[in-house]
């Protein structure tokens, strides 16, 4: 589904991603962990084509196509969804209208009939129940004045409605209360299918108890320094990232 080869990217001439290699197959869930500032959000933003970042080398192939040829909108239409670590507020853009517009843009792209307000409400109602989302949020401006957790749930609700082929979740678990974490995890699990993949960025092993990953990777200083199975997450929970310094020191040849 997704092959990333030797990806280098940065911002304002400063290198952040320094050669990422990652392969995600359909049906898989990958988790990326790693210290603050290591480049996890940068990776997700680059996958979504945030133009603030420049791609300085390497390649990304998505469903057999060169992803770097597509702009943000086209990537979304092709089924890539990113839940933002910091969802953006848009005053005056009604949350429900926003989502309906997005869903219809995607349906139109796939040659499906667009939903009218009534159809949309029917579909939304179900998913809202699944995620125990307060319907009142739909009447408000997009993310404006939403609490941290409400923003994250709203991201998940959008994902549930848009049913992406590749979902990238950037710390969607941060800021969720204990119940919400369980509910949101159910939402993500409900999306899992053999033709879909999920890339989870998280700091906490706790999420991975609900959503069991096939692979766990550690990103440090712009590179994937370790990969393993789900047990790697529990190991990290115990050891932290201190070992990275020793490794860097060794790599430095001292």
């Amino acid at each position: 589904m997704l092959q990333i080869r030797n990806l280098k990217a940065g911002i304002d001439g400063q290198a952040i991603l320094k050669g990422i290699n990652l392969e995600i197959k359909p049906g898989e869930v990958h988790a990326i962990m790693g210290p603050n500032g290591s480049g996890k959000s940068t990776l997700s933003q680059v996958l979504a084509d945030n133009e603030n970042y420049t791609v300085d080398g390497g390649s990304i192939t998505y469903q057999g196509r060169d992803l770097l040829e597509l702009n943000a909108e086209q990537r979304a239409l092709e089924g890539i969804f990113m839940a933002f670590q910091y969802p953006v507020e848009i005053p005056g853009f009604n949350n429900e209208t926003f989502l309906r517009t997005a869903l219809n843009a995607q349906r139109k792209h796939r040659g499906e009939v667009e939903y009218d307000a009534f159809d949309f409400a029917q579909v939304a109602k179900e998913k809202m129940k699944l995620l125990e989302l307060d319907p009142g949020l739909m009447k408000r401006s997009l993310n404006v004045g939403f609490s941290g957790g409400e923003k994250k749930r709203n991201e998940c609700f959008q994902m549930a409605m848009l049913e992406p082929s590749l979902a990238i979740l950037d710390e969607t678990d941060s800021g969720l209360d204990i119940d919400a974490l369980r509910i949101v995890s159910q939402g993500i699990n409900a999306l899992r299918r053999e033709d879909r993949a999920v890339l989870l960025i998280t700091h906490y092993q706790r999420l991975l108890e609900y959503i069991v990953p096939d692979h766990v990777h550690v990103l440090a200083d712009g590179q994937i320094v370790r990969s393993g199975g789900k047990e790697l997450a529990s190991e990290l929970e115990k050891t932290g990232y201190g070992w990275l310094d020793d490794k860097a020191a060794t790599a430095g040849g001292r």
Partner: protein
């Protein structure tokens, strides 16, 4: 892909102004220059009565003593008033058309191209009566007969001067005196035509009345005058629309609108202004320096101004209400959009004189490109205005980070029972928001359109239905390609 996106992000492409064509029609113009003789000549050509000629001449002499105002937050090179021509009328085959069959087909075609059919059977199923003004001369008025049956006078200003001189004499300059300000004084001296409307006591005008202004001739100043009177208990809803060809030179448009609402009368005046804004480098475009004022003369009178301003290189405009009658109400709903190099300094004045008068101001300014958008508003409560109420809400939206929004509220309260509230917000639409929309599959164009329409909803809902739709489209076109 980066380059492509930047293209759509930055600057409006030329040629997006779809009303930019020129009609090839012979016109009857005066040579450039302004003098007492020119003013008298205009009046002579229009066969006006002496009192009106003298009124014009008085205005002209007063104008020569005035200086152009400089307090607005707009910049433009000095205007050479002697280089302009002050009279241009389309030379029609037959001097004064009695019905549409006598109107020059080129003119009818122009209005059809603009989407304004003048043949009555085509006019929005009879809900709108139209007065079409071409280069400051009224060329056709629809539904005149039907309105006359109800005693409603609606037609060109020139016809009204001939047919209802007492009415014109009684009201002309009674709201905007000829000495009012530089541009209004100039207009008083040289105005060529415009619309006139009178609704008699107790009559509710059954259809929207509308004037479509079209500037065609080059190097001519445009000076229309609109006078609208709602007598006791009358109601009228009025809409004006404006377009102009795309030309490299700036053109001056200095109009005056006077509204008079008597006791229990109500006037709703809506404007969709889409004069040519100039190209993306600021070349060409209309200087729209307009004086609009309404007078709530009797008790319980109400005047509402709704404006959607998307065009013009420079807009200088403050539709105002003088609330003289007790319990009278003034409203101002405004959307002003500026993109590229456009400048707008617009707002309102609410002057509370009568008891229990109230006013509402809702202003939405949208700025994109390198444009500057200013709200300038005054709320004045004089000593006599017991229990006056005002609520003002001024919201600015900035699209991209090279444009500016400014708010200049002036509040002058001289009666302790008054309640005046002012709220202001500024919203930025930046690349982050656009990226978020794109990431969900929404195009930049759609995203901006929807965000902006949401922002303007309170104003759009004040417009008559058909025009609200038109205004929304206009907004999307004006902001096409603006920064995300």
């Amino acid at each position: 892909m980066r380059n492509e996106d930047e293209k759509t992000f930055e600057g409006l492409a030329d040629g997006d102004y779809k009303y930019g064509f020129v009609t090839d029609i012979e016109s009857d113009s005066l040579p450039p220059g302004l003098s007492e003789e020119v003013v008298r000549e205009i009046s002579r050509r229009k066969e006006e009565p002496d009192w009106l000629t003298e009124w014009r001449v008085k205005a002209y002499h007063h104008w020569t003593t005035l200086e152009e105002p400089t307090w607005a937050k707009v910049e433009f090179p000095p205007i050479d008033y002697q280089a302009l021509s002050y009279y241009s009328a389309p030379k029609q085959k037959i001097a004064a058309p009695k019905n549409l069959d006598e109107v020059d087909p080129e003119l009818l075609e122009t209005y059809e191209k603009l989407g304004i059919p003048l043949r009555e059977q085509e006019v929005l199923a009879g809900v709108v009566a139209v007065d079409a003004v071409f280069d400051s001369v009224s060329v056709a008025t629809t539904f005149k007969g039907k309105l006359e049956e109800m005693g409603i006078i609606f037609g060109s200003f020139s016809d009204a001067v001939k047919e209802y001189p007492e009415l014109v004499k009684k009201y002309l300059g009674s709201v905007v005196p000829y000495k009012d300000n530089y541009y209004a004084t100039l207009n008083s001296a040289v105005f060529s035509d415009g619309s006139f409307c009178y609704v008699p006591p107790g009559v509710r005008c059954p259809m929207e009345l509308s004037t479509y202004f079209r500037i065609n001739a080059a190097n001519t100043g445009q000076f229309e005058r609109t006078l609208l009177i709602a007598d006791e208990g009358a109601y009228v809803s009025y809409l004006e629309g404006c377009t102009a060809p795309q030309r490299d030179e700036n053109q001056l448009h200095a109009a005056v609108v006077e509204l008079i609402a008597h006791k229990d009368a109500q006037i709703k005046y809506s404007t969709v202004q889409n004069w040519y804004p100039g190209d993306k480098d600021g070349k060409g475009g209309i200087y729209n320096f307009v004086t609009k004022r309404g007078h709530c003369r009797g008790d319980n009178a109400k005047i509402s101004w709704t404006q959607v301003e998307t065009g013009s290189a420079i807009t200088w405009k403050y539709p105002s209400c003088i609330l003289k009658g007790d319990n009278s109400v003034g409203e101002f709903y405004s959307v002003a959009v500026t993109n590229n190099m456009q400048q707008a300094d617009t707002g309102t004045k609410m002057i509370h004189i009568g008891k229990n008068t109230s006013s509402t101001i809702i202003s939405k300014g949208i700025s994109a490109g390198k444009a500057q958008n200013s709200y300038r508003g005054m709320v004045k409560v004089v000593e006599t205005a017991e229990n006056a109420r005002n609520f003002s809400q001024c919201d600015s939206m900035l699209i991209g980070d090279r444009c500016g929004a400014h708010t200049f509220p002036y509040i002058d309260v001289n009666n302790p029972t008054a309640q005046v509230e002012h709220e202001a917000t500024t919203t930025k639409i930046g690349e982050d928001q656009i990226f978020y929309c794109n990431q969900r599959g929404i195009s930049t164009e759609d995203a901006i359109g929807m965000i902006v329409n949401g922002f303007c909803r309170e104003v759009f809902q004040e417009l008559p239905m058909e025009f609200a739709v038109e205004a929304q489209k206009l907004l999307s076109v004006s902001l096409e390609g603006s920064v995300g």
